[in-house]
């Protein structure tokens, strides 16, 4: 008896690049996209708020997952890049409009990312983590101590015009950018750049011997990830309409890091799942504020010890179970 093949095998590179590989995935994608587009018709405004927050953070998490999960450079600079993106937008949105300002947040944060990435040439693992943590602390202190940037004690309000101001319009804006950045991120990871990132993660020495310009690609990884994070920071500022320095303390870095580890190091969908977990848990359990970090801690520990691929690995196993249903 010939066994029916359950999934279409990838036979060449073009198959590997395809974002929607087969018919079930197509149905799934269309269903989800439709759901997100018609969601505001029946969801409460609070739900829209949470989903917008998840989408904004998921862009940053994907960017940092390219750096931490794919390139293997542990970084805690996330809150610094978020802050740079947010304050860039806050200062420029009035002068040059929303979209150019968002782009500028990303680009400016990317440039800073290149500078922060320079130590990564020599440092790895926990040492890089500490020096990027230092970067976050420095950005936080500079913002806290410079009223010209932060708007002083009262914080800083971000003007909302340019046609996009209601929560619903911001929801659709964020939805568009989330799709856009996830498709771009998926293509980056499937391209030769992504393969090189993975090679550097496995062993940068071997990658160098095989002819990879490790310095260039490590810094490129930093630039891509900080562009994503800066852009998300810009959206974040525009979404809240108000900024104060304490929004960008170290705990923001740690939240994003937790999202990556819980969702799955080195997976695109995992970034989305992890962000949804990390953002929605504190929003759902508002009354149990103290316990949310305990939940995070247990989730991280469980994923480190039992499931290194995080929620994405769990999802893969469930999918595999149903695909080969009677067999195990």
């Amino acid at each position: 008896m010939k066994l029916k093949r359950t999934t279409k095998m990838k036979t060449d590179y073009v198959d590997d690049l395809r974002i929607i590989p087969d018919i079930p995935a197509l149905i799934f994608t269309i269903a989800f996209t439709t759901l997100f587009i018609i969601l505001p018709l029946f969801a409460s405004s609070r739900m829209i708020y949470i989903i917008t927050l998840i989408m904004i953070h998921s862009i940053a998490v994907l960017g940092q997952n390219i750096l931490i999960g794919y390139t293997g450079l542990i970084s805690f600079g996330q809150s610094g890049f978020l802050a740079i993106g947010a304050y860039t937008l806050a200062h420029f949105v009035d002068k040059i409009g929303l979209l150019p300002a968002l782009l500028l947040s990303g680009i400016f944060s990317g440039i800073i990312g290149a500078i922060v990435g320079i130590p990564s040439v020599r440092l790895k693992g926990p040492f890089l983590a500490i020096s990027t943590l230092g970067f976050s602390v420095v950005v936080f202190q500079v913002i806290l101590n410079t009223p010209e940037i932060s708007g002083g004690r009262m914080g800083m309000s971000v003007p909302k015009k340019w046609g996009i101001d209601s929560p619903l319009e911001i929801y659709y804006l964020c939805l568009f950018f989330t799709y856009f950045f996830y498709i771009v991120g998926y293509r980056i990871i499937k391209s030769h750049i992504g393969k090189i990132f993975v090679a550097i993660r496995e062993s940068d020495l071997v990658a160098e011997v095989l002819g990879v310009n490790v310095v260039k690609f490590k810094i490129l990884s930093f630039v891509i990830s900080s562009f994503y994070t800066g852009f998300a920071g810009g959206l974040y500022a525009y979404f809240f309409g108000y900024l104060e320095p304490t929004m960008f303390s170290i705990s923001e870095s740690i939240n994003i890091f937790a999202a990556i580890v819980i969702g799955g190091l080195g997976s695109v969908i995992g970034s989305l799942l992890g962000t949804a977990f990390v953002i929605s848990i504190p929003q759902i359990f508002v009354s149990l504020k103290e316990y949310t970090h305990i939940i995070f801690a247990l989730a991280i520990l469980l994923s480190v010890i039992f499931e290194p691929l995080g929620l994405y690995g769990r999802w893969l196993k469930i999918k595999l179970y149903f695909m080969n249903f009677p067999f195990r």
């Binding site: 542990i74 130590p119 020599r122 440092l123 693992g125 926990p126 040492f127 983590a129 500490i130 020096s131 943590l133 230092g134 970067f135 602390v137 420095v138 202190q141 500079v142 101590n145 062993s203 020495l205 071997v206 740690i254 890091f257 937790a258 580890v261 103290e290 316990y291 949310t292 970090h293 305990i294 995070f296 801690a297 247990l298 991280i300 520990l301 480190v304 010890i305 039992f306 290194p308």
Partner: protein, 289 residues
């Protein structure tokens, strides 16, 4: 001159934290991000005991805090990190696990003791004159306690059977296991010992800051940079590096700008890593494929 004394004082306190980071790193190749939280736990126990018993028993309370921070680290290592290691989790994975443990302890402290900072009365007030300099009594206390701890620690590590097994585990885990060292117990005691020493620094720092669940995070980062400057796998290096960091912090804060002193410390760390990644006393890091 005042700044130098203050710098040396901070440096000794940081060195108590840095020793623990180095010990754990040497034995397990893990950077312990929960180090500060173990020590904070001990400090909270110290505070509670102090409130119960009154200030007459402060030494007893300090010993209680010392053992509390050691015990919690021992338990966490014995039941969580060892199991993780046995299941084949890499040191980097366990480093991420220490971050999770740090969250856990912080939330636990908020639930039990509340989020608001608690002030601690300083142990001694006033100054005494030594060779024409007026030195605060707190400085003398810090100096005595740290030197005492460092020398007891040195004796334990070099002279006792326990210390020798610690060194054996750090040098060659597999061989020490074959030769009959109780690996799980010894590795967990390394975590416990390092956390207990850190607990002393937490108790010494408590009067300088107000105590809340993250008050040791900043000193922890500085101690880590001290350990990097001195060499992450060298105990004397950790002490020297921490004193350098303490002096730099105090002098920079005194003469240049108090706002950016943390930023300056990180600059020292980055420059040191760029010029000499293995630190002053460390061995050169060689990588094999």
């Amino acid at each position: 001159m005042d700044y130098i004394f203050r710098g040396v004082q901070l440096g000794f306190i940081y060195s108590l934290l840095a020793i623990g980071i180095v010990l754990v790193y040497r034995a397990t190749r893990v950077i312990n991000f929960a180090h500060a939280d173990f020590a904070t736990f001990g400090t909270f126990i110290f505070l509670s005991a102090l409130n119960k018993l009154g200030s007459g028993f402060s030494i007893l309370c300090a010993i209680l805090g010392f053992f509390a921070s050691g015990l919690i680290a021992f338990i966490v290592s014995y039941f969580v990190f060892y199991e993780a290691q046995r299941r084949g989790v890499s040191p980097l994975g366990i480093t991420i696990g220490t971050i999770a443990i740090s969250f856990f302890i912080q939330s636990f402290e908020i639930i039990v003791w509340g989020p608001e900072p608690k002030s601690v009365p300083s142990f001694f007030q006033g100054t005494i004159d030594v060779f024409g300099f007026s030195i605060s009594k707190t400085f003398i206390l810090v100096l005595i306690v740290s030197l005492l701890t460092l020398s007891v620690f040195y004796l334990v590590i070099t002279k006792t059977r326990f210390g020798i097994s610690i060194r054996a585990v750090s040098q060659n885990p597999d061989m020490s296991r074959i030769l009959g060292v109780r690996f799980r117990f010894v590795v967990s005691s390394i975590w416990g010992l390092s956390a207990a020493i850190a607990g002393i620094s937490g108790i010494l720092l408590a009067p300088l800051y107000s105590v809340d669940q993250v008050f040791l995070f900043d000193p922890f980062l500085k101690a880590f940079i001290g350990a990097i400057v001195g060499g992450i796998d060298s105990v004397p290096g950790a002490v020297v590096g921490s004193i350098i960091v303490g002096l730099a912090e105090s002098l920079f804060g005194g003469y240049v700008s108090i706002k950016y002193k943390t930023a300056f410390i990180f600059l020292i760390g980055v420059v040191s890593l760029a010029l000499r990644p293995e630190g002053i006393f460390g061995r050169e890091i060689k990588e094999r494929v």
